[in-house]
């Protein structure tokens, strides 16, 4: 069974703290993604990675960085958390193999609150 796990379900951090969100997938997928979900805005892509040590900016990368040292693990880093980064963060992965090349599999999400 396909599985994407995220390190925390809920997280509360203070403004200015460095925050690490971890994501692990057990499907040997090449592609991994980080999104944030906000009401009325849907899911917006922050960063993605198509291979180990490779990363590409998504639509809203400002204030974030990522790390992919191993194929199964993709980390999202908030260098200095701000209140406008309070959101639900979702990690996803996908394969490069057909026929399911376009389907992304999501983790349960991390609800981050920055105070």
């Amino acid at each position: 069974d396909v599985k994407v796990t995220q390190s925390s379900r809920y997280l509360v951090k203070r403004t200015g703290e460095k925050v690490f969100l971890e994501c692990v997938q057990d499907m040997d997928h090449e592609n991994m993604f980080w999104y944030r979900q906000d009401p009325g805005l849907g899911l917006r892509l922050i960063y993605f990675s198509y291979d180990v040590k490779m990363k590409e900016k998504g639509d809203i990368p400002e204030g974030y960085s990522v790390s992919r040292e191993k194929k199964e693990r993709f980390s999202l880093i908030l260098e200095s958390a701000s209140t406008n980064q309070t959101s639900m963060y979702l990690c996803a992965s996908s394969s490069r193999d057909r026929p399911r090349i376009y389907e992304q599999y999501f983790g349960p999400g991390t609800r981050l609150t920055v105070t």
């Binding site: 892509l45 979702l90 490069r96 376009y102 992304q104 349960p108």
Partner: protein
């Protein structure tokens, strides 16, 4: 500027009736579309997809229709069940490789007995 739009934030339907969720897009280069379903406190799960070479794809109670000339797609759920109550996201694959998805804002479906 949202390239994928779901203009109805919510929809309420009686159990057993048809639910129709709509999605519009602006980029004629989009050629593959997906619907995801999301329950509270869970990640989205893939529901159904359609390629632009088709105008309909059916999977059990779920059917997606694509009207390329109108840049419009819709998801039909027949018959609707209380367990279908969730947020539904429409998404399109962006051209240019990497298989990135661009999502709409979502529609919250409530199916009541």
């Amino acid at each position: 500027d949202q390239q994928v739009k779901q203009n109805s934030p919510s929809l309420s339907v009686q159990e057993g009736r048809i639910s129709i969720l709509n999605c519009d897009y602006t980029n004629s280069m989009f050629d593959y579309f997906l619907w995801y379903k999301k329950y509270p406190a869970e990640g989205p799960t893939f529901l159904i997809s359609i390629s632009s070479i088709k105008d309909k794809n059916e999977d059990g109670r779920f059917t997606v229709f694509l009207n390329k000339s109108a840049k419009h797609l819709s998801l039909h759920i027949v018959p609707s069940q209380p367990g279908d109550s969730a947020v539904y996201f429409c998404a399109a694959i962006t051209p240019g490789g990497y298989n990135k998805l661009i999502f709409g804002a979502g529609t919250r479906l409530a199916v009541h007995p």
